[in-house]
């Protein structure tokens, strides 16, 4: 008689223990709301530092929707699991973070839990922000709490059960959220370490450039091997980089700082907003990011260097013979593209010679299709690179023929598969992207503005 009772007792103990464990993993307390702090209560220098950090973190990109107020959220972020809408991080007491204490903000950055104790979806990249220092988090808090408050209620996410239950995220964190993914390396210099701190933390480069597993977590074994964002391919930025000319510190610095580089072309798509933000932060931080990333790319191989010199030679004397298979694409290129892409007008106002285009050497035709269809929008009130989009003037077949030709002429890679399907998809997704993305906004034309918090 004693035995079944013992078994029942063990089962009961396990159930209770399990429930306690689940509770411990899932439950997070609410942090009591505070009165929104007065903007004057923050130190102006702290706010200024927060402003630069927010630019490095690219916060405005996700937290601003086209036509909406800065940081008021509402941007639909497509994920394989459904659409998640960014939140309002202005200090509005009702719909923003106005009632969040600094402790609540730090907890959200650190562990992806909002003030009320709800788990946040990891589209908010707290798997990177976990590496941000307390000091930097405080500066970010000071910056955000001094922005104009905008009343903008959150848009409901479009997720299926069970992912629409936020407690599920607790399990995700148990599996994938790790402290200490970034460590100072004493063997490296101060600049490299600064770059590593920014890249692995606030700048969250891997969020786009690292591939994700079936559960949407970055595959740490394949860091920077290329990922996806908003239906664009974020290129591999390590030894697998498809760039025809290898990157180095100075090229990375110029590209990240000014948005283009003569050997690599112009940043566009989601990267346009990143470089737009980086144009306004301390130069030393951008250089640190470049120095660290150059070490992630690693020194170029002999093969890559030879390819680069071939590309340069080819730019000077393009081949004349044309495969008849690509006649239609070649005619479109010479009529619609070569006028800008094969002139002596230098970047960024002339088009890059497509021999230097990473898009055409990339593993899939998505980015090339996106850019042919939608072009490059001008930055409001600034001189900026431009390209007209051809979505309305070219059919899917015409774009596909063009891409097939460009791939064969300007890369040494095998032809892409499913180009026409990629063009159809790009047509659908680009329409959404261009309507929702706020687009790059460079620093205020008056540089004095930057000193004002």
């Amino acid at each position: 008689m004693a035995k079944p009772r013992t078994t029942a007792g063990i089962i009961a103990a396990l159930l209770v223990g399990g429930a306690v464990a689940v509770f411990a993993v899932v439950w997070r307390p609410a942090i009591s709301p505070t009165e929104p702090p007065a903007p004057q209560s923050f130190d102006a220098n702290l706010v200024k530092r927060g402003r630069d950090l927010a630019a490095i973190g690219n916060c405005n990109d996700c937290h601003t929707v086209r036509g909406g107020k800065a940081f008021a959220g509402g941007l639909p972020v497509p994920t394989p699991f459904g659409t998640i809408y960014s939140s309002n991080i202005t200090p509005d007491p009702e719909t923003g973070i106005g009632r969040w204490s600094e402790a609540a903000f730090l907890r959200a950055m650190r562990s992806g839990v909002d003030r009320a104790g709800q788990h946040l979806y990891p589209t908010f990249p707290y798997d990177h922000f976990i590496n941000v220092s307390d000091e930097d988090d405080r500066a970010l808090y000071a910056f955000l709490m001094t922005r104009p408050a905008v009343h903008a209620p959150a848009h409901a996410n479009d997720l299926a059960f069970p992912l629409n239950q936020r407690f599920v995220v607790a399990g995700w964190k148990l599996l994938f959220l790790r402290h200490g993914t970034y460590q100072q390396d004493a063997a490296q210099g101060a600049e490299w370490n600064r770059g590593a701190y920014l890249v692995e933390g606030l700048a969250h480069c891997g969020a786009c450039h690292t591939p994700r597993n079936a559960l949407g977590a970055e595959r740490t074994s394949a860091s920077f091997s290329g990922g996806d964002v908003d239906n664009w391919h974020a290129y591999a930025i390590n030894s697998l980089s498809p760039a025809p000319v290898p990157w180095d510190t100075e090229a990375l610095f110029r590209y990240l700082r000014q948005g283009w580089h003569p050997d690599h072309g112009v940043a566009r798509g989601p990267m346009a907003e990143v470089v737009s933000n980086l144009s306004s932060v301390p130069e030393s931080d951008v250089h640190a990011i470049a120095a660290y990333m150059a070490s992630v790319f690693g020194p170029p191989t002999q093969d890559h260097l030879r390819q680069a010199s071939e590309v340069r030679a080819q730019i000077k004397s393009p081949p004349l013979e044309l495969s008849p298979a690509h006649a239609a694409g070649a005619s479109i290129y010479s009529a619609a593209c070569a006028g800008c892409h094969e002139t002596s007008r230098p970047l960024p106002y002339g088009g890059v010679n497509l021999g230097l285009s990473t898009a055409l050497s990339a593993p899939d035709p998505r980015n090339a299709a996106n850019i042919v269809l939608s072009g490059i929008r001008p930055v409001e009130g600034e001189r900026s690179p431009i390209m007209p989009g051809f979505a309305s003037s070219m059919t899917d077949q015409q774009v596909a023929a063009l891409l097939g030709y460009l791939r064969s002429r300007f890369s040494n890679q095998p032809p892409w598969n499913g180009v026409e399907k990629a063009v159809q998809d790009a047509r659908l997704t680009q329409t959404v992207f261009l309507q929702t993305s706020a687009g790059p906004q460079n620093a205020p034309a008056d540089p004095m503005q930057r000193d004002k918090p």
């Binding site: 005619s331 619609a336 431009i386 007209p388 309507q435």
Partner: protein, 169 residues
């Protein structure tokens, strides 16, 4: 030699296949509504409709237009019988110098065919690629709303004048 369909008529065009549509319209067919502004597809003055979509004719080479229907402002209405979009722009006095207006009307027309009752935000977003130095933007917005109402009325009285179909006028 290539056949170009403009405003319902076939034109035999003897031009290089990479000639921009705008040059063919203005120089060969003598349709001058579409204007040359920047030549880079950035100002919208050259906009025409191709198969129902607004297209920047200055960066659209002839060879992309095989078998497609081109509509210019001249194809929408005449001075005696202006199309709803043209009437609306006149009634709202939406033109000042007028250089950008033909392009604005063409994109607005394409929008209204796709979306007969656009919101203010939708019109603003759609017309964003168009530059106007005179600053009649508010009148242009009103004109597009007015055109939407005029087209609505026109449809009720079962005339489709000013609505571009595959093989219009």
């Amino acid at each position: 030699m290539m056949t170009l369909k403009v405003n319902g008529h076939d034109h035999q065009i003897d031009a290089d296949p990479d000639t921009p549509l705008l040059y063919v319209l203005r120089d060969d067919i003598k349709l001058n509504a579409a204007k040359f502004g920047c030549g880079l597809g950035q100002c919208g003055a050259c906009t025409v409709i191709v198969d129902g979509k607004a297209v920047l004719s200055c960066v659209t080479p002839l060879l992309l237009l095989e078998g497609k229907q081109v509509t210019t402002l001249e194809g929408l209405g005449t001075i005696d019988a202006p199309a709803p979009i043209q009437r609306a722009f006149m009634e709202e006095q939406a033109a000042q110098c007028g250089y950008c207006i033909a392009g604005m009307m063409m994109r607005a027309q394409a929008l209204l065919q796709k979306n007969p009752k656009p919101t203010d935000m939708q019109i603003r977003a759609e017309l964003e690629p168009h530059l106007c130095r005179c600053g009649t933007h508010m009148r242009i917005l009103r004109a597009v709303h007015r055109a939407a109402r005029l087209m609505d009325t026109a449809e009720l009285s079962s005339t489709t004048q000013g609505i571009v179909h595959g093989s219009a006028p």
